[in-house]
Amino acid sequence: MSDALLSVRDLVVEFPTRKGILTAVDSVSFDIGRGEVLGVVGESGAGKSMTGSAIIGLIEPPGHIAGGSIELAGERIDNLPLEAMRKVRGKRIGMVFQDPLTSLNPLYTIAEQLIETIRTHLKLSERDARERAIGLLDEVGIPAASRRIDDYPHQFSGGMRQRVVIALALCAEPELVIADEPTTALDVSVQSQIIDVLKNMCAEHGSSVMLITHDMGVIAEAADRVAVMYAGRLAEIGPVRDVIQDARHPYTKGLMGSIPTLMHDSDRLTQIPGSMPRLTDIPPGCAFSPRCPKAFDRCFSVQPACERHEDREVACLLYDEGGRP
């Protein structure tokens, strides 16, 4: 897959703790094509955000990348020296965080933060950077951008601040934007607006998106492909429509079954029994096996690899030739 913009191979992120080493991300591999929107779903602690942090090189110590490789446009970025990685951040990979209320520095105006970021990455004069900043704010849908640019973050509402954050993430035309739960902290009524802004901005600027969320609705609306993560591992990855309509992995099926629909008049939503294992005691074999309705003997001893089946990859022994009971 040489045409992929981002190529993650067997990524392992570990946290050494007193109780032993925690594997937050366990041999995860995926690609993001140019202009593609990849949704990443999973429960809290499934390793979604950690994968995002690993790509942009901002895992909080003592966590670290313990194995695998990350390539951006064919160039490895997981082992770059600090200064070189700093130039990748913001310039080639932009990031949008969950909480717009806390991701802007309260003591600087929007203009100061935008211009600072733009001028760090692009050789522009103060005035040109300001022009560009106003243009960006306009694009993300902030009314009267040329006037509001000199306001402080606390003068904006949550949704408006997230627009500013998106403008900041996109101000140097990055090839990839990692959006880590960009709508979770927002009002339901603004969520879809923000997703629209994010999607349109990235489409216009030609950026690929890694959209991390636990909201399947957001994924269905915005993503081209979706990756489902469970306990630090990939469970399934494939085109959004296919995964939603015809989930292969039993965990994905359970996930889809727990989404209320308007079509079916069911009394109860199905739920997956039990809860995700803690990272300290992931069972041997398939991490999902204790909760899986279709688990058989080998599931408890053999860890399934993520294998390609037609248009998608599934990590489940049910689809493993010769592995079936």
Binding site: I56, L58, R86, K87, V88, R89, G90, K91, G94, M95, F97, D99, T102, S103, L104, N105, P106, L107, Y108, T109, E116, T117, T120, H121, Y152, H154, Q155, V165, L168, A169, A172
Partner: protein, 310 residues
């Protein structure tokens, strides 16, 4: 201020009969009564208090029993010495404390940080007079670099005498201001360090990193500015106490400031000076707090605009 003036007044009133202090043994009873009338000591208490407060507001703080001169004049002679000392030591505390705090926050594991922290522990636990005496012992007695007492030569600017303009004046400032500022410096350093660590964990610092800003810009632009808000508060409060507690340092170094005057006053039961000193310190505290509150407005836009809209 009013409460403090009441306390000062009560002290004025009840710590012994001032007349006994002022007159000699041979003074007759009539003369005593006359003096008492002259000083207004026979008036009812509220009237006396009112006289005290209104005169104090006009800058008339009474007459020293000991020197027989107006207290206001005595204090204003001594005020420049104390203010210069406090100002220099506060400056020392800030200029040394903030960079050390930032350094120890950014390089937590380095040897120098651990050294700073250890030294700061000493600075916090050693009493001021001991530090002063140690410094005198090392730099004045053994090395003979710096003078151990007094202000050195001062230049009289009419209403203000300054030690900034002469070499001996500046040299004389060094030891006392280090003594006075050391505790504040360690306090500021530890405060900056803990605030800085706090700020570095916030989302906007993480976001600033994700935007690829330079470390320098993140640490000194984004993090330090947010760190400074609580530091301003503490520094303001500490400046007040530096002035107030210069007493000990002034005693150790025989610094001709207000603290020394106050101690002499205590020894001689010179109550007008004591109460005037109390009033002045209270006034300085209030003034500094006001300045701190105004500084907030400059630093923190949230207060500025919130206030303007409200």
């Amino acid at each position: 201020m009013l409460v403090v003036s009441l306390i000062a007044f009560v002290m004025f009133r009840f710590v012994g009969d001032p007349v006994d202090q002022m007159v000699g043994l041979e003074t007759t009873l009539e003369e005593r009564a006359k003096l008492r009338e002259q000083l207004g000591l026979n008036d009812p208490l509220p009237v006396q208090f009112w006289n005290f407060v209104s005169k104090a507001a006009q800058g008339d703080l009474g007459i020293s029993y000991q020197f027989k001169r107006p207290v206001a004049v005595l204090l204003s002679e001594r005020l420049p010495a104390t203010l210069e000392l406090s100002f220099v030591s506060a400056l020392f505390a800030l200029l040394a404390g903030i960079p050390m705090g930032v350094y120890t926050a950014l390089r937590r594991e380095s040897f120098l940080s651990k050294l700073f922290l250890t030294v700061s522990l000493i600075g916090i636990s050693l009493p001021t007079f001991l530090i002063g005496i140690l410094l005198i012992f090392i730099f004045s007695v053994n090395l003979q670099w710096l003078p151990s007492f007094g202000r050195g030569q001062v230049v009289d600017l009419g209403w203000w005498t300054t030690g900034f303009l002469t070499v001996s004046g500046l040299k004389a400032l060094i030891l006392p201001s280090i003594t006075l500022g050391l505790f504040q410096m360690t306090l500021i350093m530890r405060l900056v360090r803990s605030e800085m660590l706090e700020v570095l964990r916030t989302d906007y610092i993480k976001f600033a990193r994700a935007r690829g800003l330079k470390d320098r810009a993140i640490h000194f632009g984004h993090a330090l500015k947010n760190t400074l808000i609580p530091v301003i508060t503490i520094t303001g409060l500490q400046l007040g106490s530096i002035i107030a507690f210069a007493i000990i340092t002034e005693t150790v170094f025989q610094w001709p400031g207000m603290g020394l005057l106050f101690l002499q006053a205590v020894q001689n039961v010179d109550i007008p000076i004591m109460s005037a000193y109390l009033l002045l310190i209270a006034f300085l505290f209030v003034a500094i707090n006001l300045i701190v509150d105004l500084l907030y407005v400059v630093v923190d836009p949230r207060i500025r605009i919130g206030g303007a809209e409200a």
